[in-house]
Symmetry: C2
Subunit: 215 residues, 2 copies
């Protein structure tokens, strides 16, 4: 069964400036006119889901209903395997309000130490669930993951938990990478293989739901 | 630093009959007079934590404060690795109210199928966090895990997700095992090695916080 395609205008259902910039950048080549939930003055629904996919669907669905436009939402987080997937869907909540990710990363380190989890057992992965919801109730889900391990914080780039995440096969953390290296998609390649969780989910979304690239 | 020991009376901070029976059985040899939260008519606090340990602490703390006695609480769940640790701390919530674990197990199967996760990638583990809280605020945390994989439901024993969990090295699911095999602790052994997550956490708790066994 083929997925439904986007065209014209769509809402990016996020109030997070970092995610909004990243999603606009990803959507740019496809001629989709992206408006943000903030620009439309949409309220933020409670994220009461129990999975990334549920929370992304809650956000996309609420924005589609309120705007009458298709809406794209991301829910993402860091799953630390020795912490049973925590902070997971609570990754943002561990940072508190206003968000303090230095404190959140320190908490991850503390929880690992409390349990005596040594450096060789600090495997983790980032997850991104992207949901596109249409006003008539139709929905499409795409998930991406990137596996790696946790190290002491390095680098000032990216956001969230990026400084402690060392992707498998690399020597620099997400906090030390350019945005191009972290989530760029090489569309000229026959088989683009972006690094980040969100770019991986987006690549599947693009194949399924976006019109051909422009220019 | 040595942990604080229990003696005399203690509250088992659960309203779940299955957990209560299992914890009474585990505590029986230690001469602790265990009363349940239900017998003391204590209310159930909201489990607003983001980890098993936090939710166990919320329950133990509330019962200790309300009763003036040390209280023991368990928070536990099934972490499916390819689902990023879901249902995890929401394991009970996936069953709904009144609890329908056949539906919850069917949902796990559906989420795996939706993502094309084949039988060889269905690794999962159970987690139990046990917290003992004293009325003065002192707390001790113990965690246990048992690793295995998910299979179609087999067996009528145990509770919750037991019928789909095949522990590593065994050919029967938790739903097919006797309670003795699943969580019995052989105290005559110099190194008891119980199977279940809760019994493993309890063994550490017993070493740290319980008086010598009686009889």
């Amino acid at each position: 069964m083929s997925a439904r395609r986007l065209s014209g205008r769509a809402v990016i259902a996020t109030h997070n400036a970092g995610k909004l910039a990243e999603m606009r950048e990803l959507l740019a080549p496809f001629g989709i006119e992206a408006v943000s939930a903030g620009e439309l003055d949409l309220s933020e629904p409670d994220e009461t889901g129990t999975t990334y996919a549920e929370n992304a669907a809650i956000k996309a669905r609420a924005a589609a209903r309120a705007s009458g436009l298709p809406a794209l939402a991301d829910d993402s987080g860091l799953a630390v395997e020795a912490l049973d997937g925590a902070p997971g869907i609570f990754s943002a909540r561990w940072a508190g309000k206003p968000a303090d990710f230095a404190a959140a990363m320190a908490r991850v380190a503390r929880e690992l130490e409390l349990r005596g989890i040594g450096e060789d057992r600090r495997r983790a992965h980032f997850v991104s669930a992207l949901v596109v919801a249409w006003p008539d109730g139709h929905e499409e889900l795409f998930e991406g993951r990137v596996f790696g391990r946790l190290v002491p914080p390095r680098g000032e780039r990216g956001f969230g938990y990026d400084p402690i995440f060392l992707p498998e096969g690399f020597e620099r953390t997400f906090g030390e990478m350019s945005s191009e290296e972290k989530h760029g998609i090489d569309w000229r390649s026959a088989r683009p293989s972006p690094l980040s969780h969100r770019a991986r989910a987006f690549l599947d979304l693009a194949h399924a739901c976006l019109p051909p690239r422009e220019g």
